[in-house]
Symmetry: C2
Subunit: 408 residues, 2 copies
């Protein structure tokens, strides 16, 4: 049998462990006698359709090893969404022509909910046209909002960074004998997994985040104000964690400044949600208020990644290659949790279509009654995901990252 080639691609935002998934794919491809070259889309499907790709088969062993602790995505990404082929077939023709030209039989596409829509569409087109190509999806997203899979590679590392940093910030906020409020903003436009994971800072029994506000709960600025006002009767330093995507009862994002919160308090949009909430406290309750954004650090902080997350990211990549070789297509590898203590999980395969365009929210029963925190069940869920130390290669005490996308 003639050897066939592979194509690797990604869409959507980066995480600290996507490159580990690539490594899983690359290792597995190299170990498969039926597979030959592996090409990478440069800047996702959009890049490929513009003719941008490169061959990563012969990169050095060292560069492949460095992928394990290199954040972001070494091959680049895009947010390009393809239409259904009934509407716009041009992209499909271009794509499958490329595959034919490069003798590609296997496509591995790393991404979130939208990306699985692409996997489903490409797989279904190939089936319909009788093209012998396997299209496999590999999950990733710090947002942790993909259905069916127990959790998403990338989330554990972001959760670890958030918990660690909230612990450190809570310490910093308690050095002066003065009332103060720290409002810390995490990512999470549609779901609250990231903000919720800050509860792990309560590992240190002393200084938990005092309140956590998630997009799953309607945000009421009066309740928020009262929460802080009441807590301040007992303690001077208050730590609040808030998801960027919280909305008011009319469904308006709080950060966008359309909520009644601002009409009432007379403030307008300032930037993020922490910046929006800051003056409400500062002008009415307590002068020392800090709005802190974890920004891209929460998805890029490879130096604070979860060992288990890196390992699982690798596995969903490697297992996707195995599945493709077994004839699967239009599917995504997913993580199924078997037990919590000891933590055990296995990699399963699910129809990409069942994952595509859905959003998994933090379940109601994991949110406390007042809607300003999470329960022990949430801790049981997230704690195993941040475990495991990392072994990061350093030079001069700074990380060494892979340069796979360059000529190395």
């Amino acid at each position: 049998m003639k050897k066939r080639n592979c194509l690797l691609g990604q869409s959507g935002g980066p995480t600290a462990v996507i490159n580990s998934s690539y490594r899983g794919i690359l290792d597995q491809v190299k170990n498969s006698p039926d597979l030959d070259r592996i090409y990478a889309m440069r800047f996702g499907l959009q890049g490929l359709l513009e003719g941008k790709f490169f061959d990563i088969t012969d990169k050095s062993k060292l560069e492949l090893e460095l992928l394990e602790n290199t954040p972001s995505t070494i091959i680049g990404t895009s947010r390009y969404k393809i239409s259904h082929y009934n509407k716009h077939e041009e992209d499909y023709i271009k794509f499958f022509d490329f595959l034919e030209e490069h003798e590609i039989g296997y496509v591995f596409y790393v991404g979130g909910n939208d990306s699985m829509d692409t996997v489903a569409k490409l797989g279904s087109y190939a089936r319909e046209k009788g093209i012998d190509v396997s299209i496999m999806g590999i999950p990733k997203t710090i947002d942790n909002d993909m259905v069916i899979t127990d959790h998403c590679p990338g989330f554990g590392s972001a959760a670890k960074y958030i918990a660690t940093s909230v612990m450190e910030i809570a310490r910093d906020s308690r050095v002066y004998d003065l009332k103060n409020v720290h409002i810390i903003e995490t990512m999470g436009r549609g779901s609250g997994w990231l903000a919720a994971s800050s509860i792990l800072a309560a590992n240190e029994k002393l200084y938990a985040p005092d309140f956590i506000y998630l997009p799953e709960v309607v945000f009421d600025v009066d309740d928020f104000y009262k929460d802080i006002e009441n807590k301040m009767k007992d303690q001077k330093a208050i730590t609040v964690v808030v998801s960027e995507g919280i909305r008011d009862k009319n469904g308006n994002y709080v950060y966008a400044g359309k909520t009644t919160a601002h009409d009432k308090f007379g403030h307008k949009r300032l930037g993020g949600v922490a910046d929006t909430l800051k003056p409400i406290i500062k002008n009415n309750l307590c002068k020392r208020v800090k709005a802190i954004k974890f920004d891209v650090m929460q998805r890029a902080a490879a130096h604070c990644a979860s060992g288990r997350d890196i390992e699982e990211a690798y596995q969903v990549g490697a297992e996707a290659v195995k599945a493709a070789l077994e004839g699967e297509t239009g599917k995504m590898t997913a993580i199924k949790r078997i037990s919590n203590d000891p933590y055990q999980a296995e990699i399963i395969r699910v129809e990409a279509e069942k994952v595509a365009n859905h959003v998994k929210l933090v379940p109601d029963e994991w949110i406390n009654e007042k809607g300003n925190g999470v329960t022990e069940e949430f801790i049981d869920y997230v704690l195993p995901l941040i475990q495991g130390e990392i072994d990061i290669k350093t030079e001069n005490s700074l990380p060494v990252f892979s340069k796979l996308e360059t000529g190395v």
Copy 2:
């Protein structure tokens, strides 16, 4: 000879390694047969004058060990400045009455430039009144702006956090095939040591910070704009690091919105300096601009501390106790660099008065000609300060911090 007691205190902002200085002091006190109890001011001199202090002599060995990797300050701080005793003697009377009452013969005061003013004043008052007390200063500040000492404990760890995070952010900024500018803001109101240390991210030859703007150089918004405009001809992603304290030619802080930068471009104050500069680029050059603030994380990120910084913080603490026992007073321990390769340094003693109220700037010859970056000499200076791994105690893969200030 009757044993005498000690008093420990701090003023000014926290760092990741102040608690290591406390540990150096505590260990040395325990090893000194002439010393007995060690009291801590709770929330600095201000707290003490309000009657707040506690006895930390008998804390467990474990709690003392945890100090090494616990960020912030376990005893609390204040920004209280005492007046000269000719003007306002009351604080001095109260303070020395407290010492007498608690049989305290040695005071160890950790802080920056302002704090050394306090050390000098207390020492000089004691001498004048014939009070047999040694007052010793111990340096700390992430700003690294104290004179005479080669560098300040706290700076190396902040520099390591900044360099590591800039490397990670630079990766994150290069995933899309789109023009973008990341403006990263560091602390440093009066000096640019922190912003400058981001040059270490160029350890990774590929993605250096492209421009660094320091308070030592007059900030010209037109030059800033041109720097980015020109660079964008060669590359899509641009990383800029800027010190919060940059000022325009009239001496106005850029962040405060008084500079001509804003008159010209028609924008007003938004928060920090990165937020202020963002619309200048966004509205005129490139739509994708991110303003990122390292905020308190840069001084609190014990998980990313420099091993050498922790060690030197310990030494300036321990050596201050030795100096006090040798009869020194009104002095500060300081670091004298002997060589760079291999790095060697020794702890010296300097008059606190010579340090008090001075500010050490980044030397002109370490800033490049265009005033938008630093030279190799700066790298040679800062690189040894971030070296050394840390051995942080964890539980569930999260750090365990000391709870010395509680009843442990």
